[in-house]
């Protein structure tokens, strides 16, 4: 019997092809093509043996099963919302999935059309005039907003209002260190921008008009950061309370929590910052016959043209995630999105009230949206968390001094909330 050995994954070239190709080039072997390459690595790489698709499925399934998926009452930057099935079906279309940045517009009108819609959605939700085609994720989008501000007013200090997601603060510090900018405790004539998250890390919702006025009084820009964007279905767009730049995380819009990425950074700005905005922007135009079409535009801001004078180095963004959120928003529609926001709000308030009557102390000083912070009875938070975990529940993010940051979305059913309460009560009795 003939023994068949397949060693070439995803390469269609046959042995005959290879010989003909080498002959055409005029060399005897592939080695002759790489004589300029120094130094050569002549050993075999110490990687595992190749796997067939079947073996790979088995290996990966085993690995994925070492993770434990829970009922999440935790947010803190990643929100577990329902994703309609159609989102993934459409994303998986090879036309979208396997194309790249639409440099050649006539060939990629699909991606451009979707980017234009995405930009429109972001503008409508945030109250900004212009949005770009996406940023990597929320925290680096925020850092880029700081760079935009500093480049706009040539100032080098940044003021962050309390309540910014701690990971976002870390990322901000990293970028500021790189760019020679300083985080400061006061707002003055050196302040490039004032940053406030709304709803903040603890879920607090606030009218930030007064912060915006403080920033503008000294000529600083006001940057609003939105990490849980379903809140925008029921809350005023930040543009209405004075934001000059709105950045944030779009993961809640149809993108799975996926262990932290890929997510969806977004950035919207007021018109006067148009030339400062980083990244791709899609615009509508016409073709030679006057038909509508879309192109990437205002590219003179970007690295491939401006090099060291570019507004940012961003190139690859997260186009597919932007598409996911665009499809999500289209599928949910106005009514569906409002419903998601109201359900998230109601479930969070239901759990909050029940925990308060079970002996937890409410710590939010302002109204909250779908996330809140409570203090468990002294010394009990660790036990409560581990008992919840035993019951398949991640009961929030434990902070210092028995404080727990808890989140609900439409995925946390009333029944789940009741199990949360009963496990908590049992733990406290013990």
């Amino acid at each position: 019997m003939l023994i068949i050995i397949i060693i070439m994954n995803y390469i269609p070239t046959t042995k005959n092809d290879r010989e003909e190709m080498l002959k055409r080039i005029g060399v005897r072997s592939i080695n002759d093509l790489i004589v300029d390459l120094k130094p050569r690595f002549n050993e075999k790489l110490d990687l595992p043996e190749p796997m067939s698709e079947l073996e790979l499925v088995e290996h990966m399934t085993n690995l994925s099963q070492k993770n434990k998926i829970m009922k999440y009452f935790i947010g803190a930057g990643s929100y577990n919302h329902y994703i309609p099935s159609a989102v993934n079906h459409l994303l998986m279309r090879g036309e979208f999935l396997t194309g790249y940045t639409p440099y050649q517009a006539e060939m990629n009108q699909g991606t451009l059309h979707a980017i234009y819609e995405f930009q429109s959605f972001i503008c409508l939700l945030t109250g900004m005039d212009v949005a770009n085609a996406s940023m990597y994720e929320g925290s680096s989008a925020l850092a880029e907003a700081v760079l935009v501000s500093s480049s706009y007013n040539q100032r080098n200090c940044v003021f962050v209002k309390n309540g910014l997601n701690p990971q976002y603060i870390e990322v901000l510090k990293t970028y500021c260190e790189g760019a020679d900018l300083k985080l400061t405790n006061e707002i003055n004539e050196n302040t490039a921008c004032v940053i406030a998250q709304n709803p903040d890390f603890y879920g607090n919702v606030e009218n930030l008009q007064y912060i915006s006025e403080q920033a503008h009084r000294v000529g600083a820009l006001f940057v609003t950061c939105v990490v849980e964007p379903t809140s925008l279905a029921i809350l005023e767009p930040p543009g209405n309370y004075g934001a000059d730049i709105v950045v944030g995380e779009g993961q809640s819009f149809g993108i799975p929590v996926n262990f932290g990425g890929p997510y969806l950074g977004f950035m919207g700005v007021k018109d006067f910052l148009l030339k400062k905005i980083p990244g791709r922007i899609c615009g509508m135009t016409t073709d030679s016959k006057g038909n509508k079409g879309f192109v990437l535009t205002l590219q003179a801001r970007e690295q491939h043209i401006r090099r060291e004078r570019a507004t940012s180095n961003i190139t690859t963004n997260v186009a597919l995630m932007a598409l996911a959120s665009t499809i999500y928003l289209a599928l949910m529609g106005r009514d569906g999105l409002i419903n998601v926001a109201k359900l998230s709000y109601c479930r969070a308030h239901l759990l909050h009230d029940k925990l308060r009557s079970s002996g937890f102390k409410a710590l939010n000083k302002k109204p909250f949206y779908n996330e809140f912070i409570m203090k468990a009875p002294k010394g009990s938070s660790e036990n409560i968390s581990s008992n919840l975990l035993k019951n398949g529940i991640i009961g929030g993010l434990n902070l210092a001094e028995d404080k727990i940051l808890i989140c609900c979305t439409e995925m946390n059913t009333v029944q789940d909330i009741e199990s949360f309460i009963s496990v908590t009560k049992e733990t406290m009795i013990k």
Binding site: I11, P12, R18, I25, G26, I34, L37, K38, R40, F41, L47, P50, S52, L56, V57, H59, I74, G77, P84, E95, F96, T98, Y100, Q104, M107, T111, H113, E117, C123, E137, S140, Y168, V171, E177, L235, V257, F259, G261, P262, T285, T286, K289, L298, A300, Q303, R309, A310, T315, N317, V318, L320, M321, I327, L329, A330, M332, G333, P367, I394, E410
Partner: protein, 509 residues
């Protein structure tokens, strides 16, 4: 095609339940929120699911990807993206995992990240990797931040970064983000970085030398070892822009070429899909003396074979983005490496074979500015066909059913056509592409106007980029509503392009 906002139906499809009777009902549920903060109007459309699905399916048909055909976009490595990796990255155990879950719940993902790091170390010869950066450009940013922190720690004032003129625009753009000054070194007649100019510029204020190898001309830097030695003896670090790693897998290791740092674009060499412009991932590898500068947390293995996230500070530059990286892309790239395993060298060998084969057909009809064998890609010049010929050739290629190459890059080649076939294309495809380009070359000689009017067969004709920039229309607004046809709905989906375009013609901004 309509814009999604031009559909507005009475209802949307029910994807989530209504608010339960047990919960507070109706409009008054938001009582606790400040009145001045409750949104008065949410101007989003309601669209039925069938119309959403048709809308995006129809839009997708105006797009082109590797799944449809040849996509030789130079410098982007548009190789086939294995379907199985899409399925495996979507396993429930991965995709539904909250990043802040307890450590006992995330062992599978940590193990994957740890093993992936080991694989990348072996492939590049580096000693440690950060999986955090979201794209190549963010990897570069991390590399330059590490450089800055390294010299700060050493108390040395070095303010300049050396970059050849053939480099990607991201290199100087990233240097500027970290307030470094760029010294641009010209290329010599063989397409290498000019070694004499390099030596002249290599003073004690130089922090970093950033090179792409093979460079963007698709040529191996012939004096790489000498360059590394000179840089190191001057006290500067060597950074490899790993965008072209697809030429190197298993054939050489960037560490052996003297690089101290490298970023790898997982969406290029490691086959994660480009998604229309991302997400990608730009993992960064460093030599051991720079390991402590990598972002936190790091995944480490404990004695009991459990994995943990290590937040020990050491000299870390800090976090560069939320969470641990574009995890979903790490899964796909890990699967790709594991499917190739010890045979991964074949990828680069065939990428180089395909590029040289294609070049053999084209170098006579076009100009090859640096007459050498190429690595995994090559750059031709169409300048003999006149100004804007590269653009016209690109547009005309669309009519032959191919995605155009990268054009006008690198900047040092006039009328540049940068062609990267990748290893996943068959000889037959390369033959067809070569004959298409040669046929366009003949056309250009006989009647250049044909190419000037191209494309003729796509969903739109040549688009006016100047008008787009002069009068930017960057979003749909409610005032555009006046252009909406009242009786729209599904009927519209069957109307030919010309008709539907005229329907939304001249929509205001």
């Amino acid at each position: 095609m309509k814009i999604i906002f031009e559909y507005d139906e009475e209802q949307t499809t029910k994807h989530v339940p209504d608010i339960d009777d047990k919960e507070k009902k109706g409009e008054d549920i938001l009582t606790e929120l400040p009145k001045d903060l409750i949104r008065k109007e949410l101007p989003l459309p309601n669209v039925s699911e069938i119309n959403v699905v048709r809308h995006y399916t129809n839009i997708s048909r105006m797009n082109y990807g590797v799944d449809l055909g040849f996509y030789p976009l130079g410098s982007c490595t548009m190789k086939y993206n294995p379907k199985i990796n899409e399925d495996l990255a979507r396993l429930d155990g991965f995709i539904d995992l909250h990043p802040l879950s307890n450590e006992s719940c995330i062992q599978g993902s940590l193990q994957l990240m740890w093993e992936f790091e080991q694989d990348l170390k072996k492939i590049t010869g580096m000693d440690a990797f950060s999986l955090q950066p979201a794209a190549g450009a963010q990897g570069e940013l991390l590399g330059i931040m590490i450089t800055k922190a390294y010299y700060k720690q050493k108390n040395e004032k070095r303010t300049k970064i050396i970059i050849p003129d053939s480099a990607h625009g991201t290199n100087p753009a990233t240097a500027a983000m970290c307030k470094f000054e760029t010294i641009t070194i010209p290329s010599d007649s063989r397409g290498n970085m000019d070694i004499y100019k390099f030596k002249e510029s290599l003073k004690h204020d130089v922090a970093l030398v950033m090179l792409t190898n093979p460079n963007t001309l698709g040529l191996f830097e012939e004096k790489i070892l000498e360059i590394s030695d000179l840089a190191h003896s001057n006290g500067a670090l060597m950074y490899c822009d790993g965008a072209n790693m697809n030429a190197l897998l298993g054939i050489t290791r960037p560490s052996d070429q003297g690089f101290d740092m490298i970023h790898l674009n997982l969406h290029k060499s490691f086959s994660t899909p480009h998604g229309g412009g991302g997400p990608g991932a730009g993992t960064v590898g460093v030599k051991s003396f720079l390991e402590d500068y990598l972002p936190l947390p790091r995944v480490i293995i404990k004695q009991d074979n459990k994995f943990t996230l290590d937040y020990t500070k050491r000299k870390s530059v800090g976090m560069i983005r939320y969470s641990y990286g574009n995890f979903g892309m790490l899964v796909r790239a890990y699967c790709y490496i594991r499917s190739w395993g010890t045979n991964i060298r074949r990828v680069s060998e065939h990428a180089i074979l395909n590029a040289n084969y294609l070049l053999s057909f084209l170098k006579d009809d076009f100009e090859l500015p640096y007459n050498r064998r190429c690595a995994h890609e090559f750059v031709l010049s169409s300048r003999k066909f006149g100004e804007k010929s590269a653009l016209n050739i690109a547009k005309r290629l669309m009519d032959y059913g191919f995605h155009p190459p990268t054009i006008y890059f690198p900047l040092i080649v006039r009328e540049a056509l940068m062609i990267e076939p990748t290893e996943t294309e068959s000889k037959e495809t390369l033959d067809r592409f070569a004959s298409a380009l040669r046929s366009i070359a003949s056309e250009l000689k006989v009647n250049p106007n044909i190419a000037k009017g191209a494309p003729y067969t796509k969903s739109v004709g040549r688009l006016d980029e100047v008008a787009a920039a002069r009068k930017p229309n960057l979003r749909w607004t409610t005032s555009s509503k006046s252009y909406q046809k009242k009786d729209s709905g599904e009927k519209d989906l069957f109307i030919e392009k010309s008709v539907s375009n005229s329907m939304i013609n001249e929509k205001g901004t």
